[in-house]
Assembly symmetry: C2
Homo-oligomer: 598 residues x 2
């Protein structure tokens, strides 16, 4: 039996909870219907079963290598899967008709991609990166850049990357040293070293379109001197094909703990290995204006961060489904208090501690999926907003939720993978079962696209105080609306509402306490703790909202949703108490600790 996500859960989240079918009443999505949405999900599942799932473990065991001639070798299954995906047309799903897309709602596109991420994280990432790159260029590129670069990416002939980090600058982009210099013809020559570039070199596609951050003369120091460039592996040819080899050279592969199916590279730009136009230096094409590169890149980064959240969720989800299967089939031990030692052993799912581990996983992965899809729906609402004010509010809400959508699944769906190993016992620790790979693959997610620490600084240091804290108020209004609706139901729902209101009130209060003296050093000393508390309250809210969407329907599926909500409110939400109390105390333990005392 193959596993990716649960279609039943996805149908619930999309149709019963978020009501994405109502999007088809909007002009942008008018060509769509429940049938086209289901068609996308069916097609995705079929691709996953046929092309993505079968080589997931093989790709982990046979990571890409660099040949003596400097090219990358990998198992052929990766290319076959990506060719089938390109053939399906799904890569262009959410793009505008005018660039060859199908104007699929982002919510559906994300659900489809998450399915592939659960099926095979390593292979799916080439497609994800390409779509993210194309989305940035579709937004900020010139018509000619779109024609030249976006179209072949949406056709799956060219792939894309994002080149931000350098060996000495990962989290701190102000310190990048790659430089670009303008030539009389308007092109640039780019020189520098880039590190951790996923999909940075391979033979999977005709060409690779790198989006590269580089400093150009004349800007203020730090991030304000950064511009964004298109630096293709091959310069575009006259016929829409690829032309001359650009001066972008693979200098090494990174050998990682997991996520080995995605080739991860160090690249030299402009080291003279190739001489396009007879001259060393990587040819680059400026995107938008000089010195605004980071703001364009953040457009892609925000999408990428939500994408990381989906990836973390997808890996947690598939591990959870496998753990449930294993626990239902593996027999061991007898019920607590059983008197007869000769009675046959029971499936381990009968043991409360195993059920605790499965319920925790369910609460994390279904909560993570709800969080991601909720954010995706906000993007659809933003893309179809009736007026500028609505759009501004939606964008602000999305800004506040993005660090949560990135960090929460990266932490808790990774924890789900840890629990999936534990449910499998000694077998889970071996490579004969999949769960240890899912853990290793997922361990990347709290690191890339902004570490957990960076997300905490972003949330508390920027997002919740932007525009006078309006983002926090907008989120609070939605949380209160859910709590009010739940209180209207009475009983258990009302008790959940009280718990949620109380937890949110503590988050809002502590935000004020932390910023009371306006000193960032005081406010941000424990920003990671703030991030965790905030995230748990947001997911509690989304669980209560799912609970309400179950209404009074009966059946195993709805009972499971209700129990997962109950688990989250009994076992998880109360953990925010000590976290907000610590924050409220303005604890400075970490701030006053001296390096020499370690």
């Amino acid at each position: 039996m193959t596993h990716a996500l649960s279609r039943r859960d996805l149908d619930f989240l999309l149709y019963e909870w978020l009501d994405v079918e109502s999007l088809t009443a909007r002009e942008r999505f008018a060509d769509h219907s429940r049938e086209t949405f289901d068609g996308v999900l069916d097609l995705t599942a079929d691709l996953a079963d046929k092309y993505f799932i079968p080589h997931n473990r093989l790709a982990d065991a046979s990571e890409p290598t660099m040949r003596p001639d400097g090219t990358v070798e990998m198992i052929p299954d990766v290319q076959r899967a990506l060719a089938a995906y390109a053939e399906s047309g799904l890569i262009a799903g959410p793009f505008d008709h005018e660039v060859g897309g199908m104007q699929l709602p982002t919510t559906l596109a994300r659900a489809s991609m998450a399915w592939l991420q659960a099926a095979n994280a390593g292979t799916s990432s080439y497609a994800l990166l390409t779509a993210a790159n194309a989305a940035l260029l579709a937004e900020y590129g010139t018509p000619q850049q779109i024609d030249t670069f976006v179209r072949p990416m949406l056709e799956g002939r060219w792939f894309g990357t994002m080149c931000l980090s350098e060996p000495q600058a990962g989290s701190s982009l102000a310190d990048i040293t790659t430089r670009a210099e303008r030539r009389p013809d308007g092109t640039y020559r780019v020189v520098g070293s880039k590190m951790w570039i996923s999909g940075g070199d391979h033979e999977l596609s005709e060409n690779i379109v790198h989006l590269v951050l580089a400093k150009t003369p004349g800007g203020k120091p730090g991030v304000h001197s950064i511009s964004l460039f298109i630096v293709p592996k091959y310069l575009p040819g006259d016929d829409g094909g690829r032309g001359e080899r650009n001066d972008v050279t693979l200098t090494g592969l990174n050998h990682k703990m997991g996520n080995r199916g995605t080739v991860n590279t160090a690249l030299a730009l402009g080291d003279g290995t190739h001489r396009p136009g007879g001259e060393a230096g990587a040819v680059g094409y400026l995107v938008g204006e000089e010195h605004r590169g980071l703001s364009y890149m953040f457009h892609m980064m925000n999408e990428a961060r939500i994408g990381v959240g989906f990836l973390a969720t997808a890996l947690g989800y598939v591990g959870y489904l496998k753990a449930v299967d294993y626990a239902a089939g593996r027999t061991q031990g007898r019920p607590i208090g059983a008197k007869d030692p000769a009675a046959p052993p029971v499936p381990i799912i009968a043991h409360p501690d195993v059920r605790r581990m499965l319920l925790a996983q369910k609460a994390y992965v279904e909560g993570g999926l709800a969080l991601g899809l909720y954010c995706a729906k906000l993007v659809d609402d933003l893309d179809t907003a009736a007026d500028a004010e609505t759009a501004a509010d939606l964008e602000l809400l999305l800004d506040v939720l993005t660090p949560i959508a990135k960090s929460w699944p990266s932490q808790w769906c990774l924890k789900a993978n840890d629990l999936a190993i534990q449910v499998h016992g000694g077998y889970g620790y071996t490579r004969d079962y999949d769960v240890e790979q899912h853990y290793r693959d997922n361990r990347l997610n709290p690191i890339h696209e902004g570490t957990h620490g960076v997300q905490g600084l972003d949330l508390l240091g920027r997002k919740v105080i932007m525009r006078g804290g309006r983002g926090l108020s907008l989120l609070g209004a939605r949380i209160s609306a859910t709590a009010d609706a739940a209180r209207g139901r009475g009983g258990t729902a009302s008790a959940f509402a009280d718990g949620l209101d109380d937890a949110w009130r503590r988050v809002v209060e502590v935000t004020g306490t932390l910023w009371a003296d306006g000193d960032p050093a005081t406010a941000l000393a424990n920003s990671s703790v703030y991030l965790e508390a905030f995230g748990h309250v947001v997911v509690a809210w989304l669980w209560l909202d799912q609970y309400l969407a179950c209404e009074d329907r009966s059946g195993d599926f709805y009972d499971g949703k209700r129990m997962a909500t109950r688990y989250f409110f009994a076992h998880e939400l109360p953990q925010t108490g000590p976290w907000t109390a610590l924050l409220a105390s303005l604890d400075d333990t970490t701030a006053v600790m001296e390096p020499n005392w370690f």
Copy 2:
């Protein structure tokens, strides 16, 4: 720079905190002195540097394989290290003079072994298993069995294993199906399959002494029909060497997520591959009496469980030391609130969130080491107890602390490894740095020698209610003594004492609440949560005790200890609040969840 444990910390814990030098006043340890203790630690560090650390990564990358002839191939560095260790005589350290030991206190022997575990978990485990096996036989074997099997193990010529698990029975030993049948000469023939046997086959030693659990006719069903056997790979020869090949056959190797340096095997006993004495069946020698096998094995299991705790601590510890080094050397970003983007970047240890991650690691790994050494010191006190009543109390206290000593480091020092990866950022996710291997190696520890879930059931279901709860009272008396001493100091120490008293009171109260109706199903529904709460309170106690041992000494080392105590009381101990509240509510979420609802 090589890393294992911190000698400064070890000196503090052994001499300033536990005062192990005072043990030399006892008859058993009269030959020893601070000089012999230091000599053992110096020798260990030297062995670690020369023989254990250098091949740690190589052993991970080149795991053992099975040759076509059924023998095990591994890198030669493992044998060289173990030969040097055997040569040092340390393997016999804590054993009695009369069997060739040096009557070293267990506390020192554990500290020495922990150093090797930090240096190279995979290679050290052969020595650890051999010593544990020899200790069991020294206790329960006949003089002839001791001569035949214990002496060659203490000389490092023969190695030992413990064979409990079977493919269908890991946590549930009642379900083992290996059987033994007595022959007229008093030997037995053993037939069955054993799984997950560490060190189960190799060419590292002349012979391998398996201690095997098997059922013999006539006992009650379940665990009461289990007996314990010595089943050597080669029958003992007349000359003290090895004789005929026994019918124990390697049937496969397990390929694990980590801990790859330790060969992990599936063994067939008595499948007729070999025919000792012309007959199929593995020859076994009964240890002690029939049907009491599990009680003997638990003697070894309890030692092994504390050993797992040390292993988990050691791996967390070495990762912590590497993370501190990395954070002090890696520059990135600027201090929060810094105005000048052109200022040079600072070492990442300057960032509060990095310090939080390092402080958490310090609190976990130094707390774990304190916990392990405290238990080891109890063993020394037990071995030299003045009277039976004192001995009984010490044994009971050790019984209560054993599930904590096993599970707490397995959970939190694994978390330390996770944080060490996070401190290293993208580099930590690669195999160019050591920390991901430490994580993978450590991930085994919450699984083997009784999973986390099994430890929770053992603590709450057995240990805290044994003898009318006397173990809980004994532990409470020690906790109160520390709290009282701290209150005498006033100030911060007094505030810590109040926090500790309050947390312990909640643990004791909730123990009563959980067992109020005497129904194990009610009591044990959330036993893992109980285990976690209990463990955090125990480690808070040991941190406060270390804090007191710092007295008013000044210097970086003592400031570090005080800050780690402060971290534990501010960030960690408060987490027990929601855990004990959940337990007190008799929450039955996990108990009522139905398998079909997942």
